[in-house]
């Protein structure tokens, strides 16, 4: 399942990434495999989304969230 498919309030555990370049950026910002991630809210227009991971808030576009595979 992709992170972009979660609704606000839902949680998941990061399993892997489908894009190597984006994976480096996400990992540098604390999105590591095995880390719990929660979708906090969507922007007023539905995109981007704000997630909580590794003890802080991150925002990213839905297309970017779609490269994060969660369970």
């Amino acid at each position: 399942m992709k992170l972009s498919q979660l609704n606000p309030g839902q949680k998941g555990i990061i399993v892997s990434f489908t894009d190597a370049e984006m994976a480096v950026k996400l990992m540098e910002m604390g999105c590591l495999p095995g880390e719990e991630v929660e979708v906090e809210r969507c922007a007023p227009l539905g995109d981007p989304i704000a997630i909580r991971v590794a003890g802080y808030q991150l925002c990213l576009r839905k297309t970017e969230a779609a490269v994060i595979i969660i369970q």
Binding site: E21, R41, A54, Y56
Partner: protein, 707 residues
């Protein structure tokens, strides 16, 4: 010269800039928005040992692998031993509430082998949130000194300075990962090629040599050949390295960090976000904040501005009364003082604008605006991150274009740079203010909104809409080099640092007066000379003509009018007048006469020269007037077309002028900064041409429809 060079390195939002201010006592702009530290900032600090240290504040980054132009500076400085900012010591500033992510950068920097220490900032906040860190154990495992500090409260500084003084010239940090294991042959080949014994440095060179200017073209080619020859996959290896580092850090941090209640820190921020980024309220609040800013600029500043305006009028009047009449007095009062008054009067507005913008950045609200606006902005070829340069453009395009450096994608960045100067900056404010006060009545609509304030807001909206539409055009013209990203930290809400707000107000007003002032005073003097003197034959002819009429007339009333007519005719025949008349056929369709033409010419280099020019031209014209019309606004409002006798500043002319100033690129500093940021003349020239064309067409349409 300092005894020691110290670089501050850390993630964005770790309080690095605040620490820098504390250490150096030099203040500068700090914000809550990731990557606000754009240019290199340097200051000096006395250490307890009596030695002095030069402190450099490097841009915030999550990793040595840069994602934006801004971040690439960090590795460039740390890699180049001959760089003037290359540090002897690195202070890595980390956020105690998010240690693991912060230590990723630590471990990369540590492997470069430069002596360093770790400053754990926000120690007080971490404690409050139930995070406890065993710093002795951490120091032992990392092999460097670890100091707890709280930059916001100014705690832990003596200990930090002591630690900097004590640091050894040999790096002591323990090794983390085996850098050469990722690409053994390539690393070995590079080590030999560039004569280094540091595996990680060699690996970084393989990844990033394109960013390192100190390699010659030949060296670049050889490094490239090693890369290709060994099948070096930079993306894959960066990923592997990051994973390996985090694995290492898990070991380092096991039983160092005890976290009992990490959720607490977000409760307040969550509640605020629920309102401020709400589907409906979010935009309404944003709109109201913008309206509040415009309203504040107008209403709060009116009293001090009236006082300044009145003060300068009084000064000119008294000067003319008491100083001996002559050319020098005229130059001083009608040239210099008039020009100076035209600048000083905008200090209240600029101070208010910058104070409000710095509060929005400091509290963390600006990051939310970015978050809310991204989807809209993307439709027009921009990114949510373009909102900050564009809102900053309301203040000044120059720093805003520089702040576009933290937009990762090249295309998004170029488009942002191209359209930011269209957003009405504070230099247009004087022009708008003057023209609005001439043609828009000072009335209330629905009892609350000031009509002039609303008109001003409309001008800003027009400029923003224009910027967005032009962006859309560029979106289809410019080809993308890489994909665009929008991964950004949303910092927790904080109270603004009031000292910082006050300082920003002071600093920006000072810069405006000094920088813009120099140009404006110079232009004012040149203009005064040009409008007072003309081809001597013409002037002699005018003098002869009026002397002749005067000699034959005894009517005192007629004499007074004659003096005024003589001055007006002289102005028309002065060098400035002739220049204005030369371009008059071109600007006639826009509703301008040759006097406005002079103002257009002088504001080619800096648009804020408009008001000063008007002030100079009209004080020259009114110099012989003994009436009470000493306020600029009244003088310009009273100006009449000599042919028809109708006022020159009608609604149509004023609106056409405002549109011209809204769209035209009348700012040499912006042209220069765009050249610097894009490293080519192509973009600033395209910008100059399209903006001037747009200004002309918009002003033409407006005048022809409204007249």
């Amino acid at each position: 010269m300092a005894d020691l060079k110290v670089a501050l390195v850390g993630n964005p939002n770790t309080g690095k800039s605040t620490l820098f201010n504390l250490l150096t006592g030099l203040n500068q702009k700090i914000g809550n928005f990731p990557g606000i530290t754009v240019d290199k900032k340097t200051g000096f600090c006395k250490l307890p040992s009596g030695k002095s240290a030069e402190i450099v504040d490097l841009p915030g980054t999550y990793s040595l692998y840069p994602k934006s132009k801004d971040e690439s500076i960090v590795f460039q400085v740390l890699a180049d031993k001959n760089n003037s900012s290359h540090p002897d010591v690195i202070v890595l500033v980390a956020d105690s509430t998010n240690l693991r992510r912060n230590l990723l950068l630590f471990s990369q920097v540590a492997d470069l082998g430069i002596p360093m220490l770790l400053a754990l900032n926000m120690a007080d906040m971490a404690k409050k949130e139930g995070i406890s860190i065993d710093i002795d154990k951490l120091a032992q495992r990392l092999g460097v000194q670890v100091v707890n500090i709280s930059a916001r409260k100014g705690e832990g500084l003596p200990a930090l300075k002591q630690a900097i003084a004590q640091i050894t010239s040999l790096a002591t940090q323990t090794s983390s990962i085996d850098a050469k294991s990722f690409a053994p042959e390539a690393v070995a080949a590079i080590k030999q090629k560039i004569a280094t014994d540091n595996d990680y440095y060699a690996l970084q060179v393989l990844h990033q040599h394109e960013h390192l200017a100190f390699f010659t073209d030949k060296e670049q080619e050889e490094i490239e050949a090693i890369e290709i020859g060994n099948g070096f996959d930079t993306v894959k290896l960066q990923g592997e390295e990051t994973v390996a580092r985090y694995r290492h850090l898990s070991k380092v941090l096991s039983d160092v960090v005890v976290d009992t209640g990490a959720k607490k820190k977000f409760t307040l921020t969550d509640k605020i976000d629920a309102i401020l980024t709400h589907k409906v309220f979010g935009f309404i609040i944003f709109f109201f904040i913008l309206f509040f800013i415009f309203n504040a600029i107008f209403s709060w500043s009116s009293v001090p501005m009236d006082m300044i305006e009145g003060g300068f009028a009084w000064l000119t009047e008294k000067g003319h009364e008491h100083l001996p009449a002559g050319v020098l007095t005229d130059l001083l009062l009608d040239g210099v003082v008039a020009g100076l008054g035209g600048i000083v009067i905008f200090i209240p507005q600029i101070a208010i604008l910058f104070a409000l913008i710095s509060i929005l950045e400091d509290t963390g609200y600006m990051a939310r605006v970015t978050f809310m606006m991204d989807k809209i902005m993307r439709k027009f070829g921009l990114s949510g991150k373009s909102v900050v340069p564009m809102i900053g453009g309301i203040a000044c395009a120059v720093p805003s274009i520089m702040s576009a450096r933290n937009i990762e994608s090249w295309k998004d960045r170029i488009i942002t740079i191209m359209v930011t100067p269209l957003v009405s900056c504070s230099a247009r404010l004087p022009v708008y203010t003057l023209l609005i006060s001439l043609v828009v009545p000072d009335e209330k609509v629905w009892g609350v909104f000031n009509l002039q304030g609303l008109t001003l807001m409309a001008m800003y909206f027009i400029s923003i809409i224009a910027a967005v539409l032009v962006a859309l055009v560029f979106k289809f013209i410019i080809k993308a080099k890489e994909r665009s990203y929008f991964i950004m930290e949303l910092p927790v809400y904080r109270m603004p640092r009031w000292n910082n707000v006050l300082f920003t107000m002071y600093e920006k007003s000072k810069t405006f007066v000094l920088e813009a002032g120099k140009v404006i005073i110079a232009i004012s003097i040149i203009l005064w000379v040009m409008s007072t003197y003309g081809p001597s034959k013409r002037f002699e002819a005018i003098d002869a003509k009026y002397d002749h009429i005067e000699a034959n007339s005894k009517d005192t009333v007629q004499l007074a009018t004659l003096e005024r007519d003589r001055a007006a005719e002289k102005l028309e025949n002065s060098y400035a007048g002739l220049l204005g008349q030369t371009i008059e056929p071109m600007i006639k369709p826009l509703g301008y006469d040759w006097k406005i033409g002079i103002a257009l010419i002088t504001s080619f280099a800096a648009r804020e020269a408009f008001v000063g020019t008007m002030a100079t031209i009209y004080s020259v014209e009114g110099a012989e007037d003994d009436g009470g019309e000493t306020r600029l606004r009244d003088k310009i409002g009273a100006a009449k077309d000599p042919a028809t006798g109708l006022p020159i500043f009608t609604f149509a002319t004023a609106f056409s002028l405002m549109l011209f100033y809204a769209f035209a690129m009348q700012c040499m500093s912006t042209v220069a900064i765009v050249y610097r940021e894009t490293k080519s003349w192509k973009w600033p020239m395209i910008q100059l041409v399209y903006m001037t064309a747009m200004a002309y067409v918009a002003a033409l349409i407006a005048y022809q429809f409204l007249k």
